[in-house]
Symmetry: C2
Subunit: 142 residues, 2 copies
């Protein structure tokens, strides 16, 4: 697959944005995956503005539901996600973003947000903290 | 990671269900990934009943938002998903299901539901139909 070897035209971006079935809240769930290892890094949300910005700028831009604001991933922490590919599912109501993650995706300092797993005895933490969260953020949470 | 080598106890299942932050609609988004290849197969939704059934039975059971009913994946098509692992993210509001997919995940007969990709000229289909959908379903859509 070729992915994003060149910037998309404005027409291509609008075709893609128009094809996505955003929910009643104007959002679509986005699964972010490290492009080469296949590791799932996080699940986040985009509105039309975030999707346009992601495609135009070639870095992941989400909509933060907690902050109710556009969320340029890594703007505070430096842990940016360079866009490699964007996939749309059969119902066009969810997206996969293949990225090249700088550093760690999770605000806890772990590579992936999915660091807890169901085990026979209950829930276990299965991934280590790679970066001290205090070194990632001054005062704001990414 | 050990995954589900043995059935979970009822207490472990209830600990996991209690830890998940279901939305106001009682649902949580679930990313389903082929455990060995890392391919993302689909994004679906679970309510508490679906999550309990998945953990107790060791096969993926979702909540179908379109049919408003419990959805035992593959019940009609035979394309079941055997549970290998279940991961919870930092906010506990999304899950990753690692599975062993029998056949194809998508009702279009493709391995993954994410078969369209953003390309320079717009949207392209990037994965082939592996199974004729007419052979998957008599009258119902899985």
């Amino acid at each position: 697959m070729s992915g994003f070897t060149a910037p998309l035209s404005a027409a291509a971006i609008e075709e893609i944005v128009a094809a996505v079935a955003f929910g009643h809240d104007g959002l679509v769930p986005v699964v972010t995956q490290q492009h080469d290892s296949g590791e799932i890094l996080m699940l986040a949300w985009m509105n039309r503005t975030a999707l346009r910005a992601t495609l135009a700028e070639g870095i992941a831009v989400y909509w933060s539901r907690s902050r109710m604001a556009l969320w340029r991933k890594g703007e505070t922490s430096g842990q940016t996600q360079r866009l490699i590919d964007l996939l749309i599912d059969c119902d066009a109501d969810s997206l996969v973003l293949k990225v090249d993650q700088t550093g760690v995706a999770c605000h806890t300092g772990r590579r992936s947000c999915f660091f807890r797993a169901a085990r026979a005895h209950g829930i276990a933490t299965v991934a280590p903290v790679l970066v001290d969260p205090d070194t990632l953020y001054a005062r704001t949470k990414d």
